[in-house]
Symmetry: C2
Amino acid sequence: MKHQLQIKMNEALYLRDPESTVLGKNILKHSVHLIHKQGFEAFTFKKLAEDVGTTEAGIYRYFENKHKLLVYLTAWYWGWLEFQISFQTNNIKDPEVRLRRVVELLATTVKDDQQTSYINESLLHQIIIAEGSKAYLTKQVGEDNKLQFFKPYKDLCAVVGNIISECSPKYKYPKSLASTIIEMAHFQNFFMYNLPSLTDFGKTKKEAEIISFLNDLVFSSLKKK
Amino acid sequence: MKHQLQIKMNEALYLRDPESTVLGKNILKHSVHLIHKQGFEAFTFKKLAEDVGTTEAGIYRYFENKHKLLVYLTAWYWGWLEFQISFQTNNIKDPEVRLRRVVELLATTVKDDQQTSYINESLLHQIIIAEGSKAYLTKQVGEDNKLQFFKPYKDLCAVVGNIISECSPKYKYPKSLASTIIEMAHFQNFFMYNLPSLTDFGKTKKEAEIISFLNDLVFSSLKKK
DNA sequence: GTAAAAAGATAGTAATACTATCATAAAAAA
DNA sequence: TTTTTTATGATAGTATTACTATCTTTTTAC
């Protein structure tokens, strides 16, 4: 039997649940493709409506505006990633081995897993790299946070922070180190491809090197006494 | 005698040099205030024109669009910061002491220095924290990079990367570590105030703790053999 | 004092970001 | 099966944004 993965989303993110209808799923699917292709700034609901084969009003019935849609997609991604991590590190006893696996999962280009038919995780991963920070780098971050929009992101950071603390109970900055490696898994990737002189991987453009860098960063912090 | 600091800006960033006229300087001054107050998304040239006491067309004579203006302000900031760093670390021989000073300068809230009358560095610093990444997180990052828009940022990273290499010539990731601490000096600050559970400083909200975290991160990476 | 450059004033356009309304089709409840 | 509800389609309309164009007046430079 194939298991269908459903990620429980915050209801305040949408006007009508996009996962509950065909049109809604199409909106999600095409918005991933369109944001990936055009970038978030050039992305509009009108273009999206054309791609989906509906009207602008049709999109507005699901999402209040494109910012909410972006927050929805990022929340979905972090929820999905946390599941991947808990699944893939399940049964790993040694916290150090587990942490290495987590770093690897954070920094590895995602393959489209067929479990969720309407969202292409690989494209979504690239969207998160290039646009993800825009979900919270806004003036409404406080209100959005009160509405729990960033809970999946914060949950993932907490999970990673807890593994860090397991490895090294005396380490003083587990949460900040967790948010640092999560952000840097993405930023170093963006820099590598777009502003390569900001990294040491510009020549080879290998993700494996980002993973080595992050592991080195994490484990030198934790092993120092 | 008072020294007036002039930062040499890339000419492709503007249509008319804003530092060469009174109106231009007013545009810079008010855009810092307005972006700080409203956030970059809500910031428009029309509102800016009202604040400055000119018309929309007046602004467009200086800047093609608000994205270019943001890139201008970020470039100005990084140029200014690199000067601060070279000035404040001048004559420090020991690279480790110098690196600590750099980390401190990167993560410390800036005071408005009166050397540049029309730009409030303190507000600009907060703009860079909240909006700075939007300067390069776009689809045009490649073209913008070709036009050298990010040179001041890359130069600063190179300076920091070189100090890292001086401290520890064998360390394999000086550039990535440099971009990591520069980005994290800002992100941890943003998180501390807006999404505090992503950091270990949510309770105290002390910049000094961010500095300690970054120093710990850097020097455990460099001292590990 | 004259020429050139900058700024002010005003107008106009295409696109964006919505809101509203009414008819129809599909799904759920009676 | 019929009725009712709910979702979608089609169309229209508005305020704001992001510009471009033009013409006049003021300021600055030589």
